[in-house]
Each structure stands twice: as C-alpha cells, then as structure tokens.
C-alpha cells in the first residue's frame, strides 16, 4: 500500500508516494539519497539514524515515513551553511576530536544542534542524559561531551557543584 506524503528536507519540499511499511530512514537513505543518516541497529537502540523532525531528534529507523507527512526534517546534510561553512556544533566536534569512525557522528551533531537551538541551559548531567540515546564505541564519549559543551557555551551550568564552576 502506498500513501502520498509531503514534507521538507533541509528546506526543500518533497511530495511523493511511500510504501506505508517503510521507515523514514529507508526513505531518506534509499529514495532521497540522504545517506548521512546511518543504520546501526534498526530498532531504536543506537541513535545513528537520528534526524531532526520539527526540531526534535528522532530515531528514523523506527519512525514510519508516513508519519513525516507535513513535517520539517533536518538531516546532517542540512546542518552546514550552503556555502559549506560548518555550523558551530560541527566545528566543535571537529576541534575537540569528537570524531573517530564517524558512524555515530551525524546523529550526535543533530541532537547537539537541537539542544543548542532550544536555547535552554543544561547541567553536565542533563546534557549526558540528552545525549544518552546515542551509542558510540570509539570515543568513550569524552570528546563528544566536550564538543557538546563547547557547542552550548553560555548554556552549560557553571554553578558551584558543576565541573564548569569557574570559582571566584
């Protein structure tokens, strides 16, 4: 069974028929060529397939394509500026050495982007919780956390019991 849906990906409008059984990940990767979203588990455990749907990170491997009707989707391909300049989050991931094999990277960059765009403040523990849907086997998460904190500069709690406490 097919259903016609309309949505935007990285600002560009799409309108076509999808098999109702297909995941959004399948549609993005196989039909539209957005291969930056990766499949690591296929069942919502690892976070490698994350994209932002109306600004919120979702595991697209367990998100049916038909649910994306009317949504605004951002994939890793849409994070950098059109002229190729990296976003602050991408720059932070590059500079902090948060990238190794790179398979979990797109998902983490997108979730961090959503946190940054939320404008909210986070403690380190809250930040870890927000990122905990992404598994990474290469980095031990050290540089990823650093990159996320750098991305959110000004929005990471610096109260006394925080590792970011600057003292007097």
């Amino acid at each position: 069974m097919f259903k016609r849906i309309a949505f935007t990906v990285n600002g560009k409008a799409y309108n076509f028929e999808v098999d109702v059984r297909e995941s959004l990940l399948d549609v993005l990767r196989s039909h539209l060529g957005f291969t930056g979203a990766k499949q690591g588990c296929g069942v919502g455990e690892c976070g490698a397939c994350s994209v932002l749907i109306d600004g919120v990170p979702y595991d697209t491997c367990i998100y049916l394509a038909v649910w994306a009707d009317g949504k605004d989707i951002k994939t890793i391909e849409g994070v950098a500026e059109k002229n190729g300049e990296l976003s602050d989050v991408q720059k932070a991931f590059v500079e902090e050495g948060a990238v190794q094999c790179g398979f979990c990277t797109p998902g983490l960059v997108l979730t961090t982007t959503a946190l940054k765009e939320s404008g909210k403040d986070y403690t380190r523990e809250e930040l870890k919780r927000e990122l905990s849907g992404h598994l990474c086997r290469c980095t031990g998460y050290q540089s990823i956390l650093k990159a996320a904190e750098k991305s959110l500069e000004g929005h990471v709690c610096t109260c006394v019991d925080s590792p970011h406490y600057k003292g007097k």
């Binding site: 196989s30 291969t35 991931f93 790179g102 870890k128 919780r129 905990s132 086997r137």
Partner: protein, 786 residues
C-alpha cells in the same frame, strides 16, 4: 627531536567529511537494481541438516535464488558466463568441498603456519545457533525475509556443547570430525625450569581467574555488496579492516584465482578486530554468482552481527607463582582454557599471542604457559582489540594484587621489583626492548590519582559505600613480528603545485591512521597538512599491498613505509632542484614549501617551481613519485598502566568509577588529540569489560539471550566516567619518528585495575568479570559482607 607537524594535534583529515555526512560507508553506495541477500541461520547449536526443501521459497515471486550447501556446486553452472570462473566452470573444484580459514592474517608460504581451514560457505552441520545453513537472494529485503521462512529444514539435533568443560569431557561429540577432543590448539611455551623455580621460592601463590564472552559492537554492522563486472571479475565493496586479505580468502573460499577478485573498502564504521576477519564476503560473492553476477547486497542486522561474526574468547586461567620474601618472582606457571566457539577463526593464535605479549612485562627465570583452545557450540570467537591480552592481563594483574595482599607488600613496589628493563631480549621472539617507560608511567598515574593519600584515607572502612584504589600494568607489541609478515606499502604522487596524494594499503577504520600518515608526509616534505591528500579508500586493484589494520601495527609498521616513501620523494625533489640550480642536493632541505639551504634555511627555489618543472621541462620532465614497500622485521614494545578509584555500593552491588587514568608509553605521540581519543575509547571498552558486558547464552541450548544493544550492556554516556589519558613520551629508536603502538593497548589494563580497586575497597577479590551488580551482590552475600 623537534618536529613541525608530527606531535601536533592537527585536525583529522576526515573530520569535515564525517561531521557533514559526506563520508561514504559501504551501505551508502548502491548499484542499480541491487538485489538483497539474507541468511538462514541454524536455530540449533549443534545439529545436522537431514533434509532441506527450498521449493516454496524459490516459488515466491521476487526470489531470484536460494542457496544451500547442496546448491553451491551448481553455482558453477549458474556462473558459466564464459570464463567467469574458470576453475569452477571446468569442474576442477567442488565448492561444496572447499574449506577455508577466515582469520585476517597474512598468507604463509609455510604450510604449517597457515590458518586452520574449517569453514564452508554454507554448512550441512550447524555448529552454533546462527550458523549459515542456507541463503536467499531476492528483489527486496522483505521478500528475502519471507523466503527464509519458507525454507523447510529437518535437523537431527545433537548435544550442544556450550562450555569448554562440556566440550572437553571424555566421549563428548566432536564438533569438527577431524579435531580430536575438540581441542583446536595448544601452543604454549616454556622458559627455564618451572618446577625448580617454584621449589626454590619462599612462597608459591595460586589463583584462578575467568573472563567472559564480549562483543565488539562497532556501530556499523558487517555489510558488503558484490557483483561480477564487465571484465568478468568479482568486485566486492565491504566494511573491512583487511581488503587485501579479503581478496585472498574470497578467492580461496571459491577456489578461484586471486587476481580475479577486487575488493574496495570505503569509510568503515569501526572494527575493533571484528573486521579483521572474513565473515560475509564469500557468501555475498556466492549469492551474486548464483544470480549471474548481478549486484547483491548482504547486510547483517545487529542481532545477527552480535552472534554470527566474531566475539572475544572467554578464558579460564590457573596461575601458580613462585616468589621470594623480597618480592622477586622466580617463576610463573599459567594454564589457560580458551573458548573459541564453533570455528577456528583466529582461535589458534589468540591464546599464544596473549601469552607472547605478556612476556615483555615481568621477565622471570622460569615461565611456563600452557593454553588450550577449545571448540564449543557457541558463536565464533576471533580477533578483538587486545587479541588475548585483556584476558591474560586481567588474570595476572589480579593475581599480582593477590600476591601483594598475601605478602603484605605494596602493590606498586612488588610490580616495580619485577618489571622489565631496557635492553632485555625476549628469549623466544628475540625482540629487544629498546625503550621502556613503564616506571615513569606508574609514577605519573600514582600522582594523577593521588594514590598515596587515597590509600591512607580508605584504609579502614565500614558502611554501605566503600571506596578503594587499584592499578594494573600491561605490555603489548607493535605489529606481529616475528610471528607473521609485517609488510606495508605506500605511494606518493606529487602534483604540479607541490601538493601530494598519499595512497596506502593500510586502512583507516576510525582510529585516525590517515591523519597520522599525512602528518608524517607533511613533516618529511616540509609542506602543510592541507597539501597532503590521503586517498582513504582502499581498492585492491589500485592501492599498494598492506595487510591492513590490526595488531596495532599501522602507525609503526605502515608508518615506516610512509616515511620511506616521503623520503624518496624528498630525495627526488632535491635532485631535481640540483639540476635546476647546480647546488649540491646534500646541502638542501625542504621547508615551508621551499627548497632551502639546510644549515641557514635560506630559500633557494619554491617547491611549486620544482614540481612544475618535473612535469613540463622539455628535456628533464619526470613527475615525482614514489612507490615503496617495507618489510618490518622488528618490533617495539609499548607499555602502560591504569589507575582506578571506585566506590562500591555494598547493598546494591553497584560499582561506580570515581576516577580512572591510563598512562601510556607508546613512544612519540604523533597526534596527542587523536591519541587521547584512542585511550578514551579503549578505557571505555575496558570499563564495559570489567563491569557490564557479557554475551549470555542458554546453557542447555546455546541460544543467545542478549544479542542486541538493549540487553547487552554497552556503556552509554551516562555510564562512562571522566577518563584521564596521559603519556610518557620517549622516542623508540626503531619506530618511524620514534613511535610505538597505541591502538589496542588502552583496553588491556582497565579491567584488572578496577577489580583491584574493588578489592581494596571491600576486601573481596573478584576473579571473574564482568563484576555486574548481580554477581557483586551474590559474592557479597557469599563472603558475608551482606
């Protein structure tokens, strides 16, 4: 030595590609009308296929081929496109009878040194739950999955040997008919006379230690696609650490000429040893051949990948150590039983390799290592980061702690008394220790964790939460010499503007090797990083021969080839400059893209001008290139130590790591930021090994219980503490730029250090990992702590 680029935390050459989603991995490439392959796995751990009926599966619309062990010979006819596979097409080889080994080792001309060949592409005898019985090729994944369900198989179920004890029992059924007693290998060693050494000792201390089966869990599962090209050659794109070895093993598995296979390796989403093996490629090729060479993709699901690729060997150790009152060890006797699962893979070499690397830490008068590696009806164990060392060092560094406790000695002092010295020559490998900073590493770690203060603070504790500190050391190697060939290749082409392309047989799998190789080239050629273009994709038709990413060999072994290739280019540039300027080449150097006078630094001619001339000079034109191979017949031994501080919740059995530091002696560090990343990842994996990770199986049936990322407890960011990484940098005289290996070492010592910290906190010695809350709780009950 002072370097310009080497030793600097330059940005990874692939970082931008990876943060923008432009880096392409195997599954990001596709061929038009690519078919999908799926595998029918055995539901039984040990069974014989009595009958198999594929007619219903074949009849399903969209199914292009169904393969079983019986059908494999028919591939010959299916592929009898003229000359596709000559050997097969002429009936010289019966594929169904072709056994092959899967381990990613260099081929050995010495037959006695070859990998064990015990595997068929599809089997009539299932040896573990997940074994490959049949395969389907269909137009899409859904149809392929449906077709699998239509294959009717009748099994004769045999006794499942799910432990080494069961497999070793007298009269146990044989897992492989030609392997008596289910013992794959028993290659240990002996130095000196262990019986005498133990007899002469003031104390003989014994201990038993056990590690569990864990899995690599690289984020990208095994995936490949294969087809026959218009030149009638087999092309495979695959996520592998070892493209040149895949080429050989695929050819061997099908009985065809090696040159007819072409393997392409794009970016790889992690490997950790699991992709130093040939798990899916032969079947993928068989699938393509069964449909006339059309492209077929074979991608494992996470659940499949966790049982039908490779795991880490579980070991059981018994150790007897003879030691004198002064803390000096006289002799060590280690026996080990290694569980290799259903097929050999790397099994025959892992125990001996672990035992071999162990020798470089505490040389003693007498050392006897007696491992046996046993087949069982569990998933196949193979290479995983550390290759036998996490197991043996967990055992021995736990044992060392037990000795210190028994003799009431300081755990650091007792280790220092027995540590190796520079100049030591290993009696068996003949490798000589040319640099060793393990003592400095220990001192640094001791300071970082504030060992002495904490030791004193945590001396007498009671209550529900107790803290402790522990440490553990390790030794490793840089590559496999002298056990195996250490050949590496590099090729450099200089462009008209003085920039270069660097081509390597060595594979980037996330560890950062492309970047450190580029740094080496930039250093030698006096050009900035952006002028070194690394061709990250390996293609066995194009890239130089190198056996690949394993044994922590690339920065050291492949680095030698890279340095050699860069030096050759430099020599050619200076010779060309000499022709242009008449200044003797030996007075010249290259710096900041200029040919300069070596001593004064005065600029002579721009590199770009020389490069242009090399392309277009009407008389002397000869573009500057190099294409080298290096056979490293040497090894450098890296060292390191973990210091850990834990808090144990006595009532819940939960162990929390408060602080953890790894301090490494890996010689010169080429890129500190990347090196720290290696340490962080290795320590994190070590923490999982110590506290949470274990693949579980039903004891009776051998069925996996937690082969997914929800139930298998891989550390998340919430579970991972701050990890400290530090280095003691002393250049090793044998390594390019003074390097020693670093890739695998970080995982070796965290588990015993954490175990020793828990021992310090609770006075309870855990001799089995993981120390998950359930086990810790049970042990506390058993020991009367609760």
């Amino acid at each position: 030595m002072a370097y310009t680029v080497v030793g600097k935390s330059v940005t990874r050459v692939d970082a931008v590609a990876k943060v923008t989603g432009k880096a392409k991995y195997t599954d990001d490439f596709s061929e038009r009308d690519m078919l999908v392959g799926k595998i029918l796995h055995s539901p039984y751990a040990h069974a014989i296929v009595k009958s198999i009926d594929v007619s219903k599966a074949k009849a399903l619309p969209g199914v292009e081929a169904v393969l079983t062990y019986k059908d494999l010979p028919e591939i010959r006819y299916a592929t009898a496109m003229p000359g596709v596979i000559e050997a097969i097409a002429t009936d010289e080889v019966d594929v169904a009878e072709l056994k092959y080994g899967t381990a990613g080792h260099p081929f050995s001309l010495d037959e006695s040194h070859r990998d064990k060949e015990d595997r068929y592409i599809l089997t009539q005898k299932a040896r573990f739950v997940g074994d490959n019985i049949a395969a389907v090729v269909a137009t899409d994944a859904l149809i392929a999955s449906k077709a699998l369900k239509l294959i009717e198989v009748e099994y004769e179920v045999l006794e499942a040997l799910t432990s080494t004890d069961a497999a070793l029992k007298e009269g146990a059924p044989l897992i492989h008919d030609d392997c008596e007693g289910n013992i794959l290998a028993s290659n240990g060693y002996a130095i000196g006379n262990i019986e005498e050494a133990l007899k002469e000792s003031d104390h003989v201390i014994e201990g038993e230690y056990e590690t569990s089966i864990v899995q690599h869990c690289h984020m990208e599962n095994q995936v490949s696609h294969a087809y026959v090209d218009s030149d009638r050659r087999i092309v495979i794109m695959t996520s592998t650490q070892i493209p040149h070895i895949v080429r050989r093993i695929v050819a061997q598995s099908l009985g065809i000429s090696w040159g007819r296979v072409r393997v392409i390796k794009p970016y790889v989403g992690g490997g950790f040893g699991n992709k130093q093996d040939v798990c899916i490629e032969p079947l993928n090729v068989a699938m393509s051949l069964a449909v006339g060479g059309r492209p077929v993709k074979l991608e494992l699901s996470r659940e499949e990948a966790m049982i039908d690729t490779r795991t880490r060997h579980a070991f059981k150790f018994k150790i007897k150590t003879g030691i004198n009152n002064d803390g000096k060890i006289n002799g060590i006797h280690i026996t080990a039983v290694s569980n290799t699962g259903a097929y050999a893979s790397h099994g025959h070499s892992i125990a001996s390799s672990g035992g071999g690397k162990f020798r470089y830490l505490y040389p003693t008068k007498a050392l006897k290592f007696e491992p046996i590696t046993v087949y069982t009806n569990l998933p196949v164990a193979g290479a995983m980061r550390g290759y036998g060392t996490p197991q043996i060092f967990f055992a021995f560094e736990s044992h060392m702690e037990d000795i210190a406790k028994k003799l009431k000695m300081d755990p650091i002092e007792i280790r220092k008394k027995n540590l190796v010295e520079v100049g030591h020559v290993d009696l068996l490998s003949k490798n000589k220790i040319m640099s060793c900073s393990i003592r400095e590493c220990i001192d640094k770690g001791r300071e970082l964790i504030k060992w002495d203060a904490k030791k004193a603070l945590y001396k007498d504790q009671s209550g529900d939460k107790r803290r402790g500190v522990g440490m553990a050391c390790f030794s490793y190697a840089s590559g496999t010499y002298p056990v195996a060939l250490e050949l590496a290749g590099a090729r450099i082409v200089m462009n008209q503007d003085g920039s270069v392309q660097l081509q390597l047989g060595a594979t980037e799998i996330g560890q950062g090797s492309d970047t450190v190789f580029a740094q080496m080239v930039a250093e030698v050629l006096g050009i900035p990083m952006y002028m070194v273009h690394v061709i990250s994709t390996q293609d066995t038709d194009i890239t130089p021969f190198d056996t690949g990413s394993y044994a922590s060999r690339q920065t050291y072994v492949s680095g030698m080839a890279v340095e050699k290739a860069a030096l050759e280019v430099k020599e050619k540039v200076l010779a060309f400059a000499n022709r242009m300027t008449d200044i003797p080449a030996h007075l010249l150097d290259i710096k900041d893209q200029f040919v300069v006078f070596k001593d004064s630094g005065e600029q002579v001619i721009a590199l770009e001008v020389v490069a242009m001339q090399s392309y277009y000079d009407r008389v002397n034109a000869q573009p500057i290139t190099s294409d080298v191979s290096n056979n490293a017949r040497i090894n450098a031994i890296p060292y390191g130590v973990t210091f850990a501080e834990v808090e144990v919740d006595i009532k819940t059995g939960k162990i929390k790591i408060l602080e953890i530091f790894n301090v490494h002696d890996s010689g010169k560090i080429v890129n500190p930021l990347l090196a720290e990343g290696q340490v962080h990842g290795g320590v994190s994996m070590g923490i999982g090994y110590a506290l949470s990770e274990q693949l579980l199986f039903d004891e009776k049936t051998g069925k996996p219980l937690n082969n997914n990322l929800l139930d298998y407890k891989l550390p998340t960011i919430m579970d991972t503490p701050d990890i400290g990484a530090a280095f003691v940098e002393k250049e090793d005289p044998t390594g390019p730029f003074g390097v020693k290996s670093l890739g695998e070492p970080p995982i070796v010592s965290p588990a015993p250090a954490i175990r020793n910290a828990v021992y310090d906190a609770t006075d309870v010695a855990f001799n089995r990992i993981p120390m998950n809350p359930q086990r810790v709780f049970e042990k506390f009950k058993e020991t009367g702590l609760i």
